[in-house]
């Protein structure tokens, strides 16, 4: 079966809808059939923006998933944000800047993607403990391609080294890895096969790399859409008829 490719982290300028349009059109041209764009959680603006983006995506037959990036300072703050926003967005990604937040995010079933800062490698907390928690909670490790393109020299070398360890840890605990572009402009967008090729720089094998840009992102969106559906009751259980419709 032909793979369907997804980029779960396009980051156009939120104030410029034309910029978002150009990036969405570019994503379609590059072969993506599903994209996600993080929006700010402010309720009225977020809904309006999401509607606009969905409309633009429909022009190019690209599926759109709404995404929220959380960057909590404490586990308590994370729990509050999840309680407030989980049912409003199809993808929730948490940028973990402390060990405590990373632990809480890894074990929470409401978190889809775990992100770690690339600027400070000492604050990348994805170790065996995190991986074990994440493997039980269906959280995935997200790796952004953008820093691989913008960093040079020793900084990039250190990042490769850190990513290599994290990828090995994720694989040993069977934590899904999701590759996304993190692109803020068309110049930072790459085709799915090019993104998959970049992962060879930190020893991710080709089949896993292709799954990271297709199978796992799609699974996250499918799972969450099912959960957010009004007919959802519990995993594996959904409402098919109710009231007089039951006969």
């Amino acid at each position: 079966m032909r793979r369907v490719f997804a980029d779960l982290n396009l980051q156009p300028n939120l104030g410029d809808i034309e910029h978002a349009r150009r990036m969405i059109f570019k994503a379609s041209e590059l072969g993506y059939r599903l994209i996600a764009i993080p929006v700010l959680p402010s309720s009225s603006l977020a809904e309006k923006y999401v509607q606009q983006l969905r409309g633009i995506c429909q022009e190019k037959a690209v599926d759109f998933a709404s995404r929220l990036n959380l960057k909590p300072k404490t586990p308590r703050e994370l729990l509050q944000l999840l309680r407030r926003f989980r049912r409003k967005f199809e993808i929730i990604a948490v940028t973990c800047e402390s060990k405590a937040v990373a632990r809480q995010a890894a074990k929470d079933h409401r978190v889809d993607l775990l992100n770690f800062p690339f600027t400070d490698l000492h604050r990348r907390f994805f170790d065996k403990a995190e991986a074990e928690l994440a493997s039980n909670s269906q959280a995935s490790l997200e790796i952004e391609i953008k820093p691989l393109l913008t960093l040079k020299g020793p900084a990039r070398i250190r990042l490769f080294s850190a990513l290599r360890k994290e990828v090995a840890t994720a694989k040993s605990f069977q934590v899904p890895i999701v590759i996304s572009s993190g692109a803020t402009s068309e110049l930072l967008m790459r085709k799915p096969l090019e993104m998959a090729a970049l992962t060879t720089l930190f020893d991710l094998d080709k089949p896993s790399a292709l799954d990271a840009v297709s199978k796992y992102p799609l699974a996250i969106v499918r799972r969450n859409r099912e959960k957010l559906s009004p007919r959802f009751v519990a995993p594996g259980i959904r409402l098919i008829r109710m009231g007089e419709d039951c006969h």
């Binding site: 393109l149 040079k152 110049l187 096969l193 090019e194 970049l198 060879t200």
Partner: protein, 110 residues
Amino acid sequence: MRRRYLALKLESAEKFEAKEFLDALWSAILRLYGEYGASKTGLALVDYDEEGGLAIIRVAHTELEKVRAAIATITDIMAKPVVIHVLTVSGTLKTLYKKIGTDIKRQSAQ
């Protein structure tokens, strides 16, 4: 040694000469894989169209993914922003030209 031919598209506001493009490509490969890794790629520029921003390169089939990754890391040529995408890959030149559906002008590549 089996080879793969890649058709590349350069997207930029500027135009680049064949030498500038090739230098940028070698530089990216050297930066990532060093001289040893670069020597294994068997890289050669087969064809180049400055006006259309198209290039055809040849690489060893075992090093295809490495070269693809190196191409993806190129963000500028001569300090001018550029994106290079791989349009298609083929085992023969004839099939490659058929896939890209165009004849590109032959320029002497250095």
